[in-house]
Amino acid sequence: MKIKTIMLGTAAIAMSATATLAEDMTIVSWGGAYSASQLQAYDVPYSANTGVNIIHDESSSEAVAKLRAMNEAGNVTWDVVDVVAADAMRLCDEGLAEVIDHDTQLADAPDGTKATVDFGDLIVSECFIPQIVYSTTFGYRNDLVGATAPTSVCSVFDTAAYPGKRALQKSPLNNMEWALMCDGVAKSDVFDVLATDEGQSRAFAKLDTIKGDVIWWNAGADTPQLLADGEVIMGSAYNGRLFSLIVEQKQDVSMLWDAQVYDLDGWIIPTGLSDERKARALDYVKFATDTQRLADQSKYISYGPARASSAPLVDKHATLGIDMAPHMPTDPNNNKNTLLTNYSFWADYKDDIDAKFQAWLIK
């Protein structure tokens, strides 16, 4: 009898969990300062307008794995997912993300410009709804790098001039490109070289020279934390995270914009949602990617809005009142030397190079 009551109790809770699903919407993103900016710019006004209760999940880094498992099981619990462009392409390829008709399902610009024109070539996949342009770049501790501040990405590989730990992402992306560039490969040839076994060995050989001085990071907030604690003297990070470290938390850190790598981030809607949930997800995305909302997000974090029409609306920081434009990766002072993530290259080579990278790491 006791067991029966318990079972009934559990069943009741399980049912109430599914019942509340109707007003809940799970939005998956990256956490930290980035999620905070989305909360302020999109979620708070959206919840206020619609009464939808938004649940936040910080699982974007495992989005592909989790969506695959959910899809396999036919039980998709996520409604809208924030992913980098490369993941969006992969999810789209595998049929795990809904194909979007950008012109009809997203908002026009205030002057009536269609979404496809407004986003331009940032729509890199038919499932991808662009949101921001960000860059992976370096920050360094002013007080720990000595008298001459670094000006080139190759300072990262120069342990003689800049002794101390540096933080790099635990992934071959960007690191391999930087290694080759600092090993004398011209920027335009980087991916041709990286496509060969010799080129990959060459990049690893260059990374070998600093391997003992690297702390590898996984999460976007790692480098800012490591810089704040003085655990590293410089490190790669997403530019918006560095912005919040420098400007909001007033740490003695500067940006090294040299050889920053541009990338895109945006939304996808998983396949396999009920019509009702899909409609709501689309409604959210339409709201969250309109011209004003994208411009609003840049009040909280220094990522460039993906719409051309949002650029003129980029204004001042919401609480600090400083101009945001000079902190954007696209600012003329910052983008003197940039790289663009090569999606097709990494789509083809990621698995192979990553396997080698992981083996290299544990050696």
Binding site: K2, G9, G32, A69, N75, T77, G220
Partner: protein, 283 residues
């Protein structure tokens, strides 16, 4: 083990060295936990002792991380989830576990060893294997990302503790008591609640506490089996360690330490009570 009066100098030196070694090990055990407590009152947003703190100045300390914990939605949501999931899991593992332990303690149980091995296995199998197994399997049957899924997963992880503690109290159990009760006409259910239950209650409660803390402290399985809706306190702490620069986790940690001291005291009192009831110790 006290030092006799006639101890030689070598013996004396050894005696004190040994005590010092033990003191150092105790220090090693407790210091890392204690160091968290002052840090949680840090006025700064970092994990390190600031100069103001070391100088014991008032402005170096603050309660703001506690305030953050009690006002921040994410933390409160996580706390509520933990308080929802852990008791449910505990009730499940205690009720199944106690029944099974009583069953296992009977004299003629076929395959006793094998059954015992299966029931203890959730404690032995590496969590990452249990977690990924449950992740795929629960996804398939629609339990992934539901409260029920997390509760079931946590309940099964708590089972070995209940089995172990209840079996331990049953080992010293005097079987003539149940026979006497049966002799006087009590049915098996009545015998269980009137005779066995009060005696094994301390074991049941401490098993329950173990099961509760297992769920309350568990992060690997919930990361896989749960979704954001079931985010528990340890999950939020794990994100905190990986994601945000937030000493709020230190404040949470301090609260959890206080909680474990409370639990520990309860357990110790229970143990003494159990020993007194059974006349095993002078009390």
């Amino acid at each position: 083990m006290s030092l006799p009066i006639y101890a030689s100098p070598v013996q004396k030196i050894w005696y004190y060295t040994f005590r010092v070694i033990c003191a150092l090990v105790f220090f090693f055990l407790v210091f890392p936990i204690m160091v968290i407590i002052p840090l949680s009152f840090n006025a700064q947003d970092f994990f390190t002792f600031t100069p103001e703190m070391l100088a014991l100045k008032a402005e170096g300390f603050s309660l703001k991380h506690y305030q953050d914990f009690f006002t921040n939605d994410a933390w409160q949501h996580a706390l509520r989830n933990s308080l929802k999931i852990a008791p449910m899991a505990t009730v499940l593992s205690v009720s199944f576990g106690t029944l099974a332990a009583v069953g296992l303690s009977q004299s003629h149980v076929p395959f006793r060893r094998a059954i015992m091995a299966i029931m203890i296995s959730p404690m032995i199998v590496p969590l990452i294997i249990s977690a990924s197994g449950m992740y795929f399997f629960y996804s398939r049957i629609g339990l992934q990302g539901t409260y029920l899924g997390v509760v079931l997963a946590h309940a099964v992880l708590g089972v070995p503790f209940v089995i172990i503690t209840v079996t331990a109290t049953l080992v010293g159990f005097d079987k003539s008591l149940t026979r006497a009760a049966a002799n006087m006409g009590a049915g098996p259910i009545r015998t269980f609640f009137k005779i066995q239950m009060p005696l094994i209650l301390p074991g049941v409660i401490s098993g329950g506490l173990f099961a509760f803390i297992t769920s309350f402290d568990e992060v690997v399985v919930v990361l896989f089996v749960g979704s954001a809706g079931q985010k528990t306190l340890p999950w939020q702490m794990f994100i905190g360690l990986r994601e945000q620069i937030s000493p709020t986790i230190l404040a949470v940690a301090t609260i959890l330490i206080a909680m474990s001291i409370l639990l520990l005291t309860t357990l110790e009192l229970l143990r003494r009570r159990s020993e007194r009831i059974r006349g095993l110790s002078p009390g």
